[in-house]
């Protein structure tokens, strides 16, 4: 299976907001934020169908999320993970003396991880930190 390189950005979605306020320990939060939105062209390059789990890796970490079709696209060359622990497993923590981590514009590699599961927020943060 192919692996592709894309530029990752993140941010709010209304589903992320609603799921967050409904409880970050619930599966709905994982379903809203443990996703990677890609253009159709990227699915072709990856050789997979939509709604397949993928492994996303950057210089700063790795996380498994479900790849879905872009809901606010097209955005060629860009991948989108809503703000949350899944995106933050990958982003560049360097602040370059501004205090602000570099949340947007992380180069990442995406490859297929069909048999791996997308962890919920608490399981993900517990696995990474404890």
């Amino acid at each position: 299976m192919a692996a592709i390189q894309i530029n990752l950005i993140s941010g709010r979605t209304i589903q992320q907001g609603v799921a967050m306020e409904s409880g970050k320990e619930k599966p709905a939060y994982r379903d809203a934020c443990g996703i990677l939105e890609l253009d159709d062209a990227e699915f072709k390059r990856l050789g997979i169908f939509k709604n397949t789990n993928v492994r996303v890796s950057s210089e700063f970490g790795t996380v498994v999320v479900k790849a879905i079709g872009a809901t606010q696209g097209p955005h060629p060359g860009l991948g989108w993970i809503p703000m949350g622990p899944w995106a933050n497993a990958l982003v560049d923590p360097n602040t370059y003396s501004t205090g602000m981590p570099t949340f947007k514009g992380t180069p990442v590699t995406v490859d297929v991880a069909e048999n791996e599961t997308v962890l919920d927020a608490i399981a993900l943060i517990t696995e990474e930190c404890l």
């Binding site: 941010g11 320990e25 097209p74 955005h75 560049d92 501004t98 205090g99």
Partner: protein, 438 residues
């Protein structure tokens, strides 16, 4: 018949909508329905009623399980942690009232803490830029009544501030904008074709991270100077057209968000966005407003501004306030291993900090004050649930345009639960006892 509480203020985002109506059960104890709110705001009110909500503090045991403790025990643990620490971080402060922020600042002074709010991962770049170059701003009321050129740069209010466009920026029929959205030209700058961009008259789908170049090109175009054929993926014809549109308006406003504050360039992206606004004032009236996220992150900057002189990244460890983003900012302090305790209130760094910082929080003595179970509470040693500000207790909050609005109490919190201000007061009293001051 249900009892309706009117003019309720929504404690979710910086838009701070103040026209909500909440239907209560006959006994006034239960929220049945929320009217006028967006999906997120309504969920916040309704989730406060969840049957599985935590109502007492809990302390993590050696084996990782949680044990219920009293608020007094939790306050004692928190106070001892802060007093024993040489350099504790007190972070968050954005989902609470200004009076609670004030009590928190007193604790910070007593224990010599580093204090930071969510601006550090949100509009911190903006605060630095405003200190560098100033800011020509306006209230959302002025914008609703006057703005006929509205730019959303690197922000997506359709998702992040769902009622912003309908209450203030695009749709309202104002005094000088009588035809509502037809009175306005809407320009969206975003690397994605967002739901906000789909509504715009013009969408500049720039290359991600090239905001500075495009803003610079707009300054050039405003002055009528020559441009290269393409800047940041946008043709020069489109840039000239946008510059002309902005200059020809009677009142232009630029709203901007994380697309510019989070991308490389950071505060410099905002510097130049403010400079574009300043340039436009040579031709028409123009203002710029950050789309603040948490409902009272602005208030946190205000409170610390009047108490310490700085809006975020405070270092009180030397007995006086120092401010140096990059040095006294949460993520830098965490990654550099400079802290020995972490206290979080009204925020969730566990979900919203890069994981490298969260790993550091997990290794340190830590207390999380939050009504919800969150990734932060999961990695903390003590979790103290409190009443929801704006639902179960009132208090002052500042809207994104720095207008203070008093939030409303709608229902009582579950029996025996403290508000965050009450819990902070317990901690402050205990800190003073431990330090021999009371």
């Amino acid at each position: 018949m249900a009892k309706i509480v009117t003019d309720v203020v929504c404690p979710f985002c910086g838009t701070l909508c103040d026209d909500l109506e909440v239907a209560l059960s006959d006994d006034g104890k239960e929220i049945l329905e929320v009217y006028n709110a967006c999906a997120i705001g309504a969920t916040k009110f309704l989730h406060s009623q969840a049957s599985d909500r935590l109502t007492r503090p809990q302390k993590k045991q050696e084996d990782g399980s949680w044990k219920e403790v009293t608020y007094d025990e939790a306050a004692d643990y928190t106070a001892k942690m802060l007093v024993d620490a040489k350099k504790p971080l007190m972070y968050g402060w954005s989902s609470t009232s200004c009076s609670a922020q004030g009590v928190g600042a007193e604790i910070g002074e007593e224990v010599g803490a580093c204090m930071d709010n969510t601006a550090t991962v949100c509009h911190g770049s903006t605060l630095i830029a405003v200190q560098d170059v100033g800011v020509p701003s306006a209230t959302l009321g002025e914008i609703a009544n006057r703005a006929d050129r509205v730019v959303f740069w690197g922000c997506n209010p359709a998702h992040a501030h769902p009622r912003h466009m309908s209450r203030y920026s695009i749709f309202p029929r104002g005094f000088f904008t009588g035809k509502g959205s037809k009175s306005r030209q809407m320009i969206v700058v975003d690397p994605r074709n967002t739901d906000t961009a789909k509504m715009a008259d013009v969408h500049l789908q720039l290359e991600q991270g090239h905001d500075y170049e495009l803003l610079s090109a707009i300054r050039v175009a405003i002055r009528g100077e020559k441009l290269p054929d393409v800047v940041a993926g946008i043709s020069k014809e489109q840039i000239y057209e946008v510059a002309d549109t902005l200059k020809s308006g009677r009142f232009a406003v630029i709203f901007f968000g994380m697309g510019v504050t989070h991308s490389l360039g950071k505060n410099h992206n905002i510097d130049i966005a403010i400079s574009v606004t300043r340039d436009l004032n040579d031709y028409t009236k123009a203002a710029i407003v950050p789309m603040r996220g948490h409902y009272n992150v602005t208030g946190s900057g205000q409170v610390w501004g009047w108490q310490f002189g700085f809006p975020f990244c405070l270092d009180l460890t030397r007995g006086f306030a120092r401010y140096n983003p990059g040095d006294s900012s949460s993520n830098d302090l965490l990654v550099r291993d400079e802290l020995d305790a972490v206290f979080v209130l009204g925020s969730d760094p566990g979900a919203h900090f890069p994981v490298r910082s969260v790993k550091k929080i997990a290794q340190l003595p830590s207390v999380c004050i939050d009504p919800h179970i969150t990734p932060t509470s999961a990695v903390s040693k003590m979790h103290v649930p409190v009443a929801f500000v704006g639902v179960e207790v009132g208090g002052c909050a500042y809207r994104m345009d720095n207008v203070p609005i008093e939030t409303k109490k709608v229902v009582e919190p579950p029996e025996g639960m403290l508000t965050d201000e009450e819990f902070l007061q317990l901690v402050l009293n205990r800190v003073r006892e431990l330090k021999g001051a009371a």
